[in-house]
C-alpha cells in the first residue's frame, strides 16, 4: 500500500503537504536572493577598498 493512497482523501493530504513544502521553498528562495544581493554589495565594497589601496 502506498504511503499516500491515490484516492480523493490522499489527494487532499498530498496537496496540504505539497503547499507546505512549496511555501518553505519559496521562503528559502527569497532569502537566498537577498543573501546574493548582500554578497554582491560586500564584493562591491571590497572592490572600493582595494581601489583606494
Amino acid at each position: 500500500m502506498p504511503a499516500i493512497p491515490l484516492d480523493e482523501p490522499g489527494a487532499y493530504v498530498a496537496a496540504a503537504y505539497v503547499i507546505f513544502v512549496v511555501l518553505l521553498v519559496l521562503y528559502v528562495a527569497v532569502m537566498a536572493r537577498h543573501i546574493t544581493r548582500t554578497r554582491e554589495d560586500l564584493r562591491r565594497l571590497a572592490d572600493t577598498f582595494r581601489e583606494d589601496g
Binding site: 499516500i4 482523501p9 487532499y12 493530504v13 496540504a16 511555501l23 548582500t38
Partner: protein, 245 residues
Amino acid sequence: MPGGRLPILGALTAAALGTAFGLVFFYAPIDADQGFVQKIFYLHVPLGIVTLGGFVGGAIMGAQFLRTRDRRWDLRSYVAIHLSLVLAVGVLATGSIWARASWGHWWVWSEPMLVSFLVVFLLYCCYQPLRFAIQDPDLQARAAAAFAVMAGAFVPLNFVAVRLAEAVTHPRVLSATGGQMPGAMRLTFVAGLLAMALLYVLLWRLELLRKTTAIELRALRRSLDERTTSSIQSFAAADQRPTLH
C-alpha cells in the same frame, strides 16, 4: 548574531522533519472517524501552534525592546512576526484543505477557531504597513514594539476565548489531559510539533543573521561614503589655501 551553530541546527531540523513525516505516513494509525484525511492534522496543528507561538515571542521581544531600548530586540521581534505571518499563510491553506476534505467546505464562517485565526492573521497583516509607514527609525521601532505587545497579548486571550466557546465542528484534539489521542498518534504529533519548532528557530536565526549582516554592511558603506566625502572636502580645502612664495 553568530551563525556558527546554524549548520547543526539545519541538520537537526532536517532530521526532525524527516522523522516526523515518516511517522505521519508509515507509523501513525489511520483515524477511525476521519480516515486518511486526518494526516493533515500532524502538519496543520503544529504549524498553527508554532505560528501563534512566534507571534507571542515577537510580543515578548517587543516588550524587551521597550524596556531596554536595545535595537537588537526590535529586529528580533520584527523577524519573529514576519516569519509567523508567512507560516500563517500555510496554516490557513492547510486548514482550508482539511476543511474541504472533512466538511465539504473550503471555509466555515460559523467556526470560531477558523475565524479567530483569520482575525489574528489580518491583525498582523497591519504590522508591516504600520512599521514602514513611519520614517523616523526610533519612532518606527517604538510603534512596532507597541503593536507587537498589544497584538501578542490578544493571541492567547483569543485562544482561550475560542476554547471556551462551544465548537460547532472544529475538533478539540488537545486538552489538559492530552486529549483522546492514542499513543502512536500523540507521539507523531509531538514529533511534528518538535520539527516545526526547530524549523521556526532555524528560519528565524537565518533571517536574523541575513538582516543583521545587511544592516552592518549598509552602515559600513555609509561610513565609507562619509570618509570619502570628508577626504574630498579636505583635498578641496587644501587646494584653495593660499600658498607662500
